[in-house]
Amino acid sequence: MEEKSHKPPFRSHILVFLAPAFLIYTSFMVIPLFGTLQMSLYSQIDGVQKFVGLANFATLFGDERWAQSFWNALVNNTWFFVIHMLVQNPIGILLAALLSSNKLRMRAFYRTSIFIPTILSFVIVGFAWKLILSPLWGVAPSMLDAIGLKSLFAPWLGKEEYALTTLALISVWQFVGIPMMLIYAAMLSIPDEVLEAAECDGLSGNAQFWKIKLPLILPSIGIISILTFVGNFNAFDLIYSAQGALAGPNYSTDVLGTFMFRTFFGFQLQLGDPNMGSAIASAMFFIILCGVSIYLFGIQTRLRRYQF
């Protein structure tokens, strides 16, 4: 940050402290981000980059083939997010509530174990589940057989109607540790006096959770929701590892990340197009920006924070 040097006590050390972080962050994050936004306004015509205004976006939303892929990816992405909100976060809250209850034994063991999938890479998780769900290997069918539900088995990752939901649930399996930990931390920070007062008033167990703890952890639930939103609309690795860049079967697991990757680099017969890739990245940028703004201005300001 440029400090004006005409102010009498110029403190050069502030500049020195800020400069490295500021420079690296600006040159490898902010400038490329704006570079990408800018590139989405250009197009390669006869070997030269020409300014074309919003033409790329007109193609993306107007051209039937592009628009179909884009909306397919956006709808899939939204479904991916909905499953996380409906499955991952409630399970995370339940586990945190159980972990934070008093006098629970083996707390550290549970915490450590349930967090393990979160530290693994998407590549490992994608392949591991692909193997487990594979009809070739038979781990999943033989387990369902053991509980008498073998007829329910289907090659979930290979069926258009199940593949996306299966992947979303795999991702939930992987990341449940994050809401669990954050909510757990929030619950530990509720002072004991508050809970004791609740008990004196006859509130315990479930009633205590719904009437006392839940309102107090709402800000943390808000943070988790926005983290889930940003993470999901940025998803790529798991789908790429498990289903490849074509996000099969028949694009049924395509999300914005894989769509952008395919457009940018090209795949099979389709040539790579950095400008259209940038246009998709810009669309993702605006979607994420909208989500974050709704959270910051619409939700966060309305959540009451309690100071103890």
Binding site: L33, K103, Y110
Partner: protein, 291 residues
């Protein structure tokens, strides 16, 4: 190990039996979920030590003297250059992590310690990156790396990961540094310490717990990232473990022994690191570093 929590149960003896029932229910749910969380990892690891026939015949039983086999590991070590990949990942992760921690702490100190014009604005600007993923700038990052000849170098990855890790690091560390007492720093100033020395000698040692939390949060996504290695450094000699495993497993789809062995090889180092740092990580999260 155990978080020492002052017990609030003082007069709840009459409800003992219902408490016991609740505790049993809690354990039942937690054990079920723990099994769900660990099951896939366990299945992969135990099967990687079995012969091909045993993998298919009884996938859920642990290896015994009859079915034990290291054939998968032999294939992996012969074919894949995992040692090199491992070294690449380690180099990238350690250097980026050091830069994130050091530069992040410096910037956080400037923001937390000094009142200056544009302080708030700089802080907001640097915090923007927490919410906006760096991947959205990929197209321009790749062009920049091509133009500067950094494609297929570890330097490209290090620079990108440093930029990616800085926003959260600065945010968490400056929250922490605001809590350090002014008296200490002023005493240092009276003793004639320069601002740099105050930062290095007094402040850095005090924020070490927060640094550990930031370190874990920065390290995991860098080590596990597939996107940037795939795009910026796909060449054989600069592949990271994650990308290496992805490509390798893709080639060996039909060799189940090799696939299971390479998955296990990719899981184990992270798992060991996690078990070493988990106490620190959990302490960091629950002490209010991330709220």
């Amino acid at each position: 190990m155990t978080t020492s929590q002052p017990t609030s149960q003082s007069i709840s003896n009459p409800m003992l039996s219902s408490n016991t029932a609740r505790a049993i229910a809690a354990h039942a749910i937690l054990i079920t979920y723990t099994i769900i969380a660990l099951f896939p990892v366990v299945v992969i690891v135990i099967n990687s030590f079995k012969s091909r026939n045993a993998i298919f015949r009884s996938p859920l039983s642990p290896p015994n003297s009859e079915t034990f086999s290291l054939i998968g590991y032999e294939t992996v070590i012969k074919q894949g250059d995992f040692l090199l990949y491992f070294q690449n990942s380690l180099t990238v992760t350690i250097i980026s992590l050091t830069m994130v921690l050091f530069f992040g702490a410096m910037a956080a100190f400037a923001l937390a310690e000094y009142r200056f014009k544009l302080n708030l604005l700089t802080g907001l600007y640097l915090a923007l990156g927490i919410m906006i993923p760096i991947r959205l700038g990929t197209v321009a990052i790749l062009q920049m790396m091509v133009a500067s000849g950094l494609v297929n170098t570890l330097t490209a990855l290090i620079l990108v990961y440093t930029a990616q890790g800085l926003p959260l690091a600065i945010f968490i560390l400056s929250e922490f540094m605001q809590g350090i007492s002014d008296d200490l720093k002023n005493a240092g100033r009276i003793d004639g310490l320069s601002e740099y020395r105050i930062f290095l000698r007094l402040v850095l040692p005090l924020v070490r717990p927060a640094m550990a939390t930031v370190a874990v949060f920065t390290m995991i996504p860098i080590w596990n990232d597939l996107w940037f290695p795939l795009i910026l450094a796909p060449a054989e000699e600069v592949k990271t473990v994650t990308l290496g495993a992805q490509v390798f497993i893709g080639q060996f789809v039909t060799n189940w022994n090799a696939v299971l062995a390479s998955l296990s090889l990719a899981i184990v180092p992270v798992l060991i690191l996690y078990l070493i740092f988990s106490k620190q990580l959990i302490k960091g999260i629950t002490s209010g570093a991330v709220k």
